[in-house]
């Protein structure tokens, strides 16, 4: 890390301490409940170890970090739940099957990517390109509205359609 990045991280850590009560409240409100303190600890570790992008709005940056940390905890608990279900299914043959299970998982991941690619192709443009630019390239909706020459609400409408298709909304809820 060069000096400027380091200084930025220190500033953010200072602001983090100042805003701690507010961020804790935010983590609780987002559903972290009993884990809100752990969420803040996750953020502290990230601030201390990850390269920090320069941000014109450090307060908004920290708030986004709270959301991402809460999301990551939800993702982790979901993965743990899936693993437990796998183990329960495997039963006594567990040790024997684990190796094959890894290969099966990577095959499933590849198939899922192919399905995803097919879904995006079926959506066509501008929906597919908007979704890609927004979620993979990280371009804000306001900028996409300019790039694609359409209103912000139209961008949002297209993106909602992409989300619904990509998530196969009904199935995602039955999982």
């Amino acid at each position: 890390m060069d000096d400027r990045v380091m200084q930025k991280a220190t500033e953010l850590q200072r602001l983090f301490m100042d805003l701690r009560p507010e961020l804790l409240k935010r983590a609780r409100a987002l559903g972290a409940a009993g884990e809100a303190e752990d969420v803040l600890q996750d953020i502290w570790v990230r601030l201390a170890t990850l390269p920090i992008e320069a941000s014109s709005n450090p307060r908004a940056y920290l708030t986004r970090m709270v959301y991402t940390a809460v999301l990551d905890r939800h993702r982790a608990s979901r993965r743990a739940m899936n693993r437990e279900q796998q183990w329960a299914k495997l039963g006594n043959d567990a040790v024997h099957v684990v190796g094959g299970n890894e290969a099966e998982r990577s095959l499933e991941a590849r198939q899922e990517l192919q399905r995803l690619a097919a879904t995006l192709r079926a959506l066509g443009d501008p929906v597919a390109s908007l979704f890609w630019r927004h979620r993979v390239d990280g371009v804000p909706q306001r900028q996409l509205a300019q790039e694609f020459g359409m209103g912000l609400s139209t961008v949002e409408k297209h993106l909602r359609r992409a989300y619904a298709a990509v998530l196969n909304a009904r199935r995602a809820l039955e999982d």
């Binding site: 993702r75 991941a109 979620r135 297209h158 909602r160 989300y163 809820l173």
Partner: protein, 68 residues
């Protein structure tokens, strides 16, 4: 809601609308989101089910630039 297939329930549609807004780097209406999430336990349940799945999918997409 426009843009969401008719098979999606109103709750799913609402959660997707929130997710679409929240994932924008410019999103700032955190208090509003929190109000909606705590209003009904099903709101949070459906929202996080969709948000976690979407985040997993996006990670996969980002790891495979050839799909673009």
């Amino acid at each position: 809601m426009t843009g969401v297939p008719s098979h999606a329930s109103p709750l799913t549609a609402a959660a997707l609308a929130w997710l679409t807004r929240v994932n924008d780097p410019d999103f700032a209406a955190w208090a509003e989101l929190e109000t909606w999430l705590v209003k009904d336990p099903r709101h949070a349940q459906v929202y996080w089910a969709l948000a976690t799945r979407e985040a997993d999918l996006i990670d996969e997409l980002r790891g495979s630039p050839t799909l673009g």
